[in-house]
Symmetry: C2
Subunit: 234 residues, 2 copies
Amino acid sequence: MLLFFKENISPKGISYLDEDESKHCIKVLRLVKGDFLYLTNGKGALAKAQISQPNPKKCEIEIVDYQFTENNKSFYTHLATAPTKNAERIEWLVEKCVEMGIDEISFVMTKHTERSHFNTERIEKKAITALKQSLQTWLPKINPPMDFTKFIEQRTESQKFIAYVDNENTQTLFKAAKANQHYCILIGPEGDFSKEELQTALENGFQKVSLGQNRLRTETAGLVACCTLNMLNE
Amino acid sequence: MLLFFKENISPKGISYLDEDESKHCIKVLRLVKGDFLYLTNGKGALAKAQISQPNPKKCEIEIVDYQFTENNKSFYTHLATAPTKNAERIEWLVEKCVEMGIDEISFVMTKHTERSHFNTERIEKKAITALKQSLQTWLPKINPPMDFTKFIEQRTESQKFIAYVDNENTQTLFKAAKANQHYCILIGPEGDFSKEELQTALENGFQKVSLGQNRLRTETAGLVACCTLNMLNE
């Protein structure tokens, strides 16, 4: 099943793939007139379409079926992470979280964050690619970078966690989280959160949690957090 | 704490870093005479050493402390995966599994595996880098590619699982696995295992399991499996 992305999908009639998708469809995948493909808008729509004019810049299609599926997950995961110095690692994280299923991703600028330039558009494209590849129809909300304190103060999720590495016997995320909740899990940069940042989080209702015995990179920690919450809600 | 790798570590006296490590130590990290560093052999040894001659090709060090730690995990995870077409993805999987803690990694050549050339040495280097970065002292055993059936028939782990995607209500790995066991978890290629391969596995005591609702790439599946077993044994 080949899934393409289109922001606005008509329930029926003639339509066109975006330029990028047209090129991918006709030049890379080499689909031809008469072939069928699927479309999602990342907001629950799944349409089946048939190629009527295989133009590599503006592929014409006819919508033959259209369905909408509610996002009826019983839990909601919002992963907030400091961006990593290496952009590729964050892109991997986003790709993997989309595959595993995630609802919202935020990027938080902390004291020890080394990354000064952040390409939100590139991250969004990565998420869309992962969505298509994993045949899903609900794209997570991806938020641009935000100041740490501002982010902390705006949070309304029912269960809020900050992954923090210390020598105390901190409870794991798996033990601390309850099923069927709206979670926000905060992952720090390579240099970890500062003591002040931890304090601010605790004062705003965040619970300190561990992600296990081992020392994890930022993007690995994000993945483990996501996987943990999925498993809790199996 | 800067951790270097050396296959044979003397408990005391004068010693030398390997050429790669010497270069990294002196030219990249720019350590100097008198600086301290740590060494592991990936088999439980952790030595503290002081630089006596900062030669970038053969850095001379003096061992000042030496400790050995048993690998006393109560469970054992052997991840066996089909190699991915894209070598980078498998390297990424190995890096993440080492970070999260894994005991053994095997590569299994299945019917639908697209990868013909496999660089075990490169994978081992990646594992060592991840070991050092995550400050661990036990390197997982990494096995070269093996034929699927041969691999299946040799398995002696107490709990054996094969991740397989089908329309039946397959139990998740998390529910199927018991704590404190020796696990072998088999992950298929992008085209999944063939029906014959699944049958062979089932006949050899492997249990079919799901890794959740979503459609995961090979390397993501490997990670989720590893994370799941860790969590079960928290």
